[in-house]
Symmetry: C2
Subunit: 156 residues, 2 copies
């Protein structure tokens, strides 16, 4: 079975060479795969990973500066501006400029924003389970620990 015609190339096997030893390459593939799964499961509820993550983090850390959150989530300032404006338009987020520093913008959830996060929290957390895919508990724990070390984000 699966005899190759003379001169043809095996379509199923791709050689990656040293790319297979690249952390960045595998991270990229894994991440895109994860996004695919996210959209497949949660797009119907109108959730986008970036937006929902911001709402989530703002909910947990009310009053933080927009820029602080952006930096931590690796969202570029220009993009953060637009994203936050969308969330304000949607009525989920409040912007607040404090007197002692009128440059910076403090973010917090509106009641509607809180309600939105709460109502989707379950699906969001279930998704986190699903994306563990075929990893055992031990493998999962190890992976998280290593990614934590790589990213400097500790699990808190």
């Amino acid at each position: 079975m699966n005899v190759q015609p003379v001169g043809a190339v095996d379509e199923d096997t791709i050689r990656f060479g040293e790319l297979g030893q690249s952390v960045g390459f595998l991270l990229r593939i894994a991440q895109l795969q994860s996004f695919d799964l996210f959209f497949q499961r949660l797009a119907s509820q109108g959730l986008k990973p970036g937006e929902f993550t911001v709402l989530w983090v703002v909910g947990l850390n009310p009053g933080l500066r927009q820029g602080t959150i952006a930096a931590r989530l690796r969202i570029k300032p220009a993009h953060m501006t637009k994203l936050v404006h969308r969330m304000v338009e949607a009525g989920y987020v409040q912007r607040n400029v404090l007197d002692h520093d009128r440059r910076s913008v403090r973010l917090s959830l509106t009641d509607k924003g809180e309600a939105f996060v709460q109502s989707h929290k379950q699906a969001f957390l279930e998704f986190h389970q699903a994306e563990r895919l075929n990893l055992t508990d031990a493998e999962f724990a190890t992976l998280m620990q290593l990614l934590g070390k790589l990213t400097g984000i500790d699990d808190t």
Copy 2:
């Protein structure tokens, strides 16, 4: 030191809550971090991760279909078309339509493309080392194995 004014928020600490247990979230952060490092080191040489990866893979697997490579690298067909055209314009890639199936397009590197890959191979591989960051050899090996399992890409 670092006494907070009354009513202020600690700027340094962000709580992620259950997000900290999300594979997808950590993958996303790690991946963006990796891209940042890539651009920081290799942008000056005119390398983009996606483009160089395609050249690399085409070089290792001459004669594969454009679509096969795109699927494996998780590049969308529409984007692949444009990317390949850029590479053809640059003189790095040849498109080839075989008689036995005139729908599909076979890719291979031109001599110029080969030379380009060769001349940047070193920097590319050094970058792979750098992105291991603060991981030990053992941690690195484990991480790669787990990401391999997650993505279904085995190290070959």
